[in-house]
Symmetry: C2
Subunit: 194 residues, 2 copies
C-alpha cells in the first residue's frame, strides 16, 4: 500500500475516533489525548493531519455531512412527482440516521451547539442544495406551501433528529409504521393541499 493510501486511512481513523468520542461525552469528551489513543497514534501525529482541534471537528462535520447528503440523494431523479422525490429523500435520510447512529447524533449535536464554525456550517448546508431546489419546484407547481425553506426544513426534516434521539434513549421504537406516520406528519406540514 502506498504512503498516500496509508495517510488517507489514518486521517479517516482519526475522524472516526473523534466521532465516537464526541458522541460519548460531547466535544469536551473528545480530548486530543483520547482521540490519539483510540486511533492508536501519538497525540502529536494528529497535528500532521489537522491544524487544531477545531479544524479536526470542522473536517469531521463536513466528512459526515457529505456522507449524509450522498445517502439522502441516492437515486435522485428529477423526472418524477415532487412528492415522490421528497418521500424518497425523506426515507433515505431516515434510513441513514437509523443505520449510522453515531453520524446522525453527531450532526444533530452540531446543529445546536457552537462547536462548528459558522463558515463550515454554511459549507455543509450546500450539500442540501438538491432538497432546496426540489422545494422551489414544488412551490412553482403549487404542491408545496409558499413559505421559507427554513420553515419547510424545520417541520419536515428537523423533527427526525428528535425522533432518533428518543429511539437511541430507548423511549421510542421507530418501526415501519411509526416511520410512515412520521413521514405523513412531515408531508402534511409542508404540502399545500391535503
Amino acid at each position: 500500500m502506498g504512503q498516500l493510501q496509508k495517510s488517507k486511512i489514518k486521517r479517516i481513523a482519526l475522524l472516526s475516533a473523534t466521532l465516537s468520542l464526541v458522541n460519548n461525552g460531547g466535544i469536551q469528551g473528545a480530548s486530543m489525548a483520547k482521540v490519539a489513543k483510540v486511533a492508536n497514534v501519538s497525540p502529536a501525529t494528529i497535528y500532521l493531519y489537522f491544524e487544531s482541534k477545531q479544524d479536526l471537528v470542522n473536517q469531521l462535520y463536513l466528512y459526515v455531512k457529505s456522507g449524509f447528503a450522498e445517502a439522502a440523494f441516492k437515486g435522485y431523479n428529477q423526472d418524477i412527482a415532487v412528492k415522490d422525490i421528497f418521500k424518497r429523500i425523506w426515507f433515505n435520510m431516515s434510513s441513514f440516521k437509523l443505520e449510522f447512529k453515531e453520524e446522525a447524533s453527531f450532526l444533530s449535536q452540531c446543529d445546536n451547539t457552537p462547536m462548528i464554525d459558522e463558515k463550515t456550517r454554511q459549507e455543509g448546508l450546500l450539500y442540501m442544495t438538491p432538497l432546496f431546489d426540489l422545494w422551489v419546484r414544488g412551490k412553482k407547481e403549487g404542491i408545496i406551501k409558499d413559505i421559507s425553506p427554513y420553515l419547510l426544513y424545520a417541520f419536515s426534516i428537523y423533527p427526525m433528529a428528535f425522533l432518533m434521539n428518543m429511539q437511541n434513549r430507548g423511549l421510542c421504537q421507530l418501526d415501519k409504521k411509526v416511520l410512515e406516520e412520521s413521514f405523513q406528519a412531515a408531508w402534511d406540514s409542508i404540502c399545500e393541499i391535503k
Copy 2:
C-alpha cells in the same frame, strides 16, 4: 434582608451566570472560575450552593425548564376547544423563546447533548404534562392524530428550536406572518383532518 432571602438571591445569581456562560461557549465555556467571577463570588462559594458542576447544570436545567413551562401554560383553561388551547400554548412557547433567548437556546442545547443527567431530563419532562394531557383529550375527540406523543412533539414543538436558532444567527426573521405560518405547519402535522 434575611439570610435565607440572600441565599436564594445568590443561588439564582449563580444559575444566571452559568446560563449566560453556557450560551457563549457551551458547557465547557462555563468554568467554575468564570461562573464565580460573573456572579461576584469565590469559586469555593459555589460549592456551598451546589454539590458539583454537574449538579449546578442539572439544577439550572430544571430552573429554566420550569420557567418555560410556567410561561407555556399561562392561562391554561380546559374549557375551550383543543385547537384553541394548543394554539395558545404554542404561541406562549414561541413568545417565551423569542423573549428569553438565552433560556431557549440553553434548553435546545440540553436536548441534543449529554450535558444533563437522564434522570434530571425525565424530571424536566414532567413539566410538560398539561400538553400531553391535552393531546390525549384531542385524540379522544378525533381532532389530533392517533400517534405517539413523541411524534406530536417532534413535529409541532421541536421545530421551534430550529427556527429560533436560525433567527439568532440572523438567517431568518420570525415576524408575525412567519409565526402564523409556523403554527399552521405545526397544526397541519398533528391534526386529524385539515
